[in-house]
């Protein structure tokens, strides 16, 4: 009997709720229709399009399509639905709360016998219904379409539910952000500006900081970490949501997932409190809460002043940059502050009001600008203390001459190649952390760079600030501290400093292991071996005797193992080119189908050299027959143009002397001192139609070439 009474009460309450929703929804049916159409396109239509493509292919494989179909639920649908959800959340938030911008509507709703808290959750709840009903319908339809095509299992349901949850979380995040903005602003103009600001502020401020650091700091490396990473990747609901989806697709998303939940809860709470505390009479005011208005003002004025100052600083080529920079700062600060005051008061006469805020903002900007110009915080000098340093990473690329891919063998027997020098496996420090020699070498690099900067003229500083330094002299470094913090720097480095650094990394770090990592790949996948010899020519080796492949790999492995750091930092005499090819669909599935590695062969590699000698190709320039050498001058912004006549040497005696200095481009290494401002092409006897490129070693460059070059420079 009781249950009957309860059910009757429940039915009545449900009916009342339904009636309430029906009445309140009058005139708002376009919102669920928007969601319905949006989700229809982003889920069902997208699914049908993909199915059309997959099944339209020649010999479609169900197993392969099944993998691709799962990818739809873990990636494609997440992004297509995300766009609809972001737009819909903004629409829902605006539709639910923009009555607060009208005094008439506010009086109407706030005079009703209902608590503000109830009003808030009622409107939020109705918004969720508008979103959730079309969403669930479309997801269900999507699952049905997949099932009709033969793809239905519990895993799909699990993925669909997870997608629903992630989308719902992101909907709430964007919805509460919109509501918060409406609750703290009092008119449409400020609301729209703040909403735009919320979406773009992180990127704008991040770009400004990047621009300032790039121009004023010599060691700034454009990598998103710390504050910049936060600004670019997490400072707006859109970028935060996108990152959550990206990391969910990658499988490692627990941290960001928790972060999004926390941020959503915090924004939800703030929007709720802002709504409850919002005075009804604030409709029409630009900013409802005075403190929020001041905060927004400083958040806008300081970057604007700094940004305009930077633009004016960059305009002149040299000379009065600082004067123009200060002018830009003053102009930007005054204009942005005055503009905001005009918007706040809706009155042009208020341009000069709140001058104490203007002065305070000006001071803040001056401090920021002075810090960038003078580097008070010692950004360029920063090197972590050894006791705080956990690991060190460097981008040792082809320009430096030790660009060996780091190959990893997975537990299942497959291989992967590290794509990024910043990834954990690319660590260059040893088990005991970063060694003293390594850190000392970096300190010397930093001090040398500082000395060079102090000695260089203002014109050259301006030149570098405009165009950057030559790429071959840069070494990006990542420090990982024991606290987990990551710091990036880029250093301008010369051959001598590099040599010391590499020696330290060979001795204390894992550089040698990285260079040998390709040896973990099974030699059965080695399909081609080539060699670049002293002449610069590349030859295929051991085509008829593939058993030699294993022999040379074994020899290289032993030689490398035994080589000291100093032996690995001399001029290489040859370079191998080893191509590994993998069958794509096999158990030993790799993330790549083929890979070519280019190990360098040094004079101390006795075993390898002995095998190479058997081929008969020259491993010394002495045995190369040169026909002609052309040397062109090119430095800085002056490129080697065809208009400038190169120096040509064909005389046998001159060529003999040149041989001692000539080095094919494939065998160049950044730690070997070479002439920087020349461009060399040479021709071999019997093959004078084909030009080889190289450079000249500084130590053995003939005097006559140096003299001729001086004359050429004079022209």
């Amino acid at each position: 009997m009781k249950s009957r009474i309860y059910s009757s009460d429940g039915a009545k309450a449900a009916k009342e709720k339904y009636t309430a929703v029906k009445i309140i929804s009058k005139g708002q049916t376009w919102i669920p229709v928007f969601f319905f159409l949006g989700f229809l396109i982003s889920f069902v239509i997208v699914e049908l399009l993909y199915f059309g493509n997959w099944f339209g292919a020649v010999n479609p494989m169900m197993e392969e399509i099944s993998i691709l179909y799962e990818g739809l639920w873990t990636e494609s649908f997440l992004y297509t639905g995300f766009v609809v959800i972001m737009c819909g959340a903004v629409i829902n938030g605006v539709q639910s709360f923009w009555y607060l911008y009208s005094s008439r509507k506010t009086d109407f709703y706030h005079s009703l016998p209902v608590k503000r808290s109830h009003l808030f959750w009622q409107r939020t709840g109705i918004g969720i219904l508008y979103y959730l009903i079309p969403y669930m319908l479309m997801v269900f339809l999507c699952v049905c379409v997949g099932a009709a095509r033969g793809f239905f299992h519990l895993k799909i349901i699990g993925m669909a539910l997870m997608m629903c949850f992630l989308h719902f979380l992101l909907y709430l995040l964007m919805y509460f952000c919109t509501v918060l903005i409406i609750c703290v602003t009092g008119n449409l103009l400020m609301g729209a500006l703040c909403l735009g600001g919320l979406m773009l502020y992180g990127h704008m401020l991040g770009s400004l900081i990047v621009a300032c650091r790039t121009i004023f700091y010599d060691t700034f490396y454009m990598e998103r970490y710390g504050l910049l990473r936060f600004l670019f990747e997490y400072a707006s609901p859109f970028s935060l949501g996108r990152n959550l989806l990206e990391q969910y697709g990658g499988g490692d998303y627990a941290a960001i997932f928790i972060a999004v939940i926390c941020v959503t809860s915090a924004v939800g709470m703030c929007s709720y409190m802002a709504f409850l505390k919002r005075p009804s009479e604030s409709a029409g005011r630009p900013m409802v809460y005075g403190l929020a208005g001041i905060t927004v003002k400083f958040m806008v004025v300081v970057p604007c002043g700094l940004g305009l100052g930077l633009i004016f600083y960059m305009l002149p080529d040299s000379g009065e940059r600082n004067v123009w920079g200060i002018f830009g700062i003053v102009l930007g600060t005054v204009l942005s502050h005055g503009g905001l005051e005009v918007i706040y008061h809706m009155n042009f006469q208020k341009f000069w009001s709140k001058t104490h805020h203007l002065v305070l903002a000006g001071l803040l900007i001056a401090v920021c600008a002075a810090n960038y110009q003078m580097d008070f915080l010692k950004f360029d000098d920063y090197i972590p203390k050894q006791e705080n340093l956990k690991a060190i990473y460097m981008s040792i690329d082809s320009q430096i001459g030790v660009n060996m891919p780091i190959v990893l063998k997975k537990e299942n027997g497959s291989y992967s190649v590290l794509g990024a020098w910043t990834s954990e496996e690319a660590v260059l420090s040893g088990e005991g952390g970063v060694g003293e020699k390594t850190l000392q070498a970096i300190k010397e690099i930093v001090e040398k760079q500082k000395r060079e900067k102090e000695n260089s003229s203002q014109e050259s500083i301006n030149y570098y600030r405009n165009w950057g330094v030559p790429a071959e002299r840069e070494l990006p470094v990542k420090y990982t501290l024991k606290s987990g913090r990551e710091i990036f720097r880029i250093y301008k480095i010369d051959g001598e400093s590099l040599c010391r650094l590499l020696a330290a990394l060979y001795e204390e770090g894992t550089l040698k292991e990285h260079q040998m990592s390709f040896l973990t790949m099974d030699s059965k996948y080695l399909t081609d071996v080539k060699g670049t010899f002293a002449s610069g020519e590349e030859y295929s080796l051991f085509q008829e005797e593939t058993k030699k492949y294993e022999e040379i790999l074994d020899a290289f492995s032993k030689d490398m193992e035994e080589a000291s750091a100093q032996e690995l930092l001399v001029q290489p005499i040859a370079q191998l080119s080893l191509e590994y090819t993998f069958p794509v669909y096999e158990n030993t599935y790799t993330s790549f189908s083929n890979i070519v590695v280019y190990p360098k062969i040094f004079p101390s590699f006795k075993r390898t050299v002995a095998i190479l000698k058997e081929t008969g190709y020259p491993i010394s320039m002495e045995k190369v027959s040169l026909k002609k050498v052309n040397i062109s001058y090119c430095a800085g912004a002056v490129s080697c143009s065809d208009e400038m006549e190169p120096l040509t040497y064909e005389d046998e005696a001159e060529l003999k002397k040149l041989k001692k200095a000539l080095l094919p481009s494939d065998l160049t290494c950044a730690w070997i001192p070479k002439e920087e401002e020349i461009y060399v092409e040479y021709y071999l006897e019997g093959n004078d139609q084909y030009a080889y490129y190289g450079t000249l070693l500084s130590d053995s460059m003939p005097d006559f070439v140096r003299k001729d070059l001086e004359e050429l420079k004079g022209k």
Binding site: I23, K26, D107, H110, S111, P113, K115, S280
Partner: protein
């Protein structure tokens, strides 16, 4: 009873309501009068629980009104510029209000809309200003609330409709607990409907009196006396609020009952004597002049 104690509300530097104390009794029509900017609408919005007072307190039947559903269920607020959600018809409005006011009477609403010739299925945005006012009045009455707060609600109603609404109020007061509070800048508009009037000026209450009481205790008499001596004696004997001479005719506004005043005048053996009816406006002017205010220009 609506109890307003030292209520203040400021908008920035402007004090819209300043330390107002008022009691609005039950089953009476309370008129809140004052010039533009006197604070009538602000006070009504504070009473309706829309605005939170900066100081003081407003309670309805001992319940604080701000953010109190129970208290707000006892009142219905009609703004001077009422808002209706887009595309709503009169019937939609009834359904809307039924959600919030459980005592809302659909039957009464149908009856009244027919009496006022309002189409229940017509979109409200197609209504004239007067029709919207009528509709709001009807919705307010049908909501079944104890208090009805009307901000300039008679403005825009034609005399026939105004009379009809007044009759409606009278009938509601007769039949149930009902207290309309009407804010207006026009004293004449309230004269024949209000039982009690509060006068607001520059955010403060100048006076709050029962209309009958005021009419009973203030009278205007015109008379012609035989000599100046008697005139002076009469002026001393009566509690004169205002005295004016037009030739030999003496016009006296004095406090007291009709009988008391007439007895004193008759005792001076006047050549001519009669009591003249006082308009509400005249009573207010007389009262406020005594209080030191010159408010003739406040009223239309």
């Amino acid at each position: 009873m609506i109890d307003i104690k030292e209520c203040s509300k400021s908008f920035g530097k402007i004090k819209a309501v300043n330390q107002v104390s008022l009691d609005i009794g039950e089953r009476e029509v309370f008129g809140l009068v004052g010039s533009n900017g006197a604070g009538k609408s602000t006070l009504l919005r504070v009473i309706a629980g829309i605005l939170k007072p900066d100081g003081g307190a407003v309670s309805i039947d001992t319940l604080p009104v701000y953010e109190n559903r129970e208290a707000k269920e006892k009142l219905f607020y009609i703004s001077d510029d009422s808002y209706f959600p887009a595309n709503y018809t009169s019937e939609d409005m009834t359904a809307f209000y039924k959600n919030y006011y459980p005592a809302f009477s659909l039957q009464r609403f149908r009856q009244l809309t027919e009496e006022f010739h309002l189409d229940r299925k017509q979109k409200i945005h197609t209504f004239s200003k007067g029709m919207k006012k009528q509709l709001m009045m009807i919705l307010g009455i049908c909501s079944g609330t104890k208090y009805l707060l009307c901000d300039e609600s008679f403005d825009g109603l034609d005399p026939v409709m105004r009379q009809a609404v007044k009759s409606l109020f009278a009938s509601e007061i007769m039949n149930r607990e009902f207290t309309p509070v009407i804010a207006s800048h026009n004293l004449r508009e309230l004269e024949d409907i209000c039982d009690h009037v509060g006068l607001l000026h520059k955010g403060g209450v100048l006076l709050s009196r029962d209309l009958e009481d005021m009419k009973f205790h203030i009278h205007k008499v015109q008379c012609v006396l035989r000599d100046m001596e008697k005139e002076k004696e009469l002026e001393k004997e009566l509690e004169v609020l205002k005295i004016r001479r037009q030739g030999s005719l003496l016009l006296i506004t004095a406090r007291g009952t009709k009988m008391e005043i007439m007895n004193r005048v008759q005792a001076k053996e006047p050549l001519f004597c009669e009591i003249i009816p006082l308009s509400l406006e005249e009573i207010f002017i007389s009262e406020t002049e005594v209080a030191g205010y010159e408010i003739q220009n406040l009223f239309i």
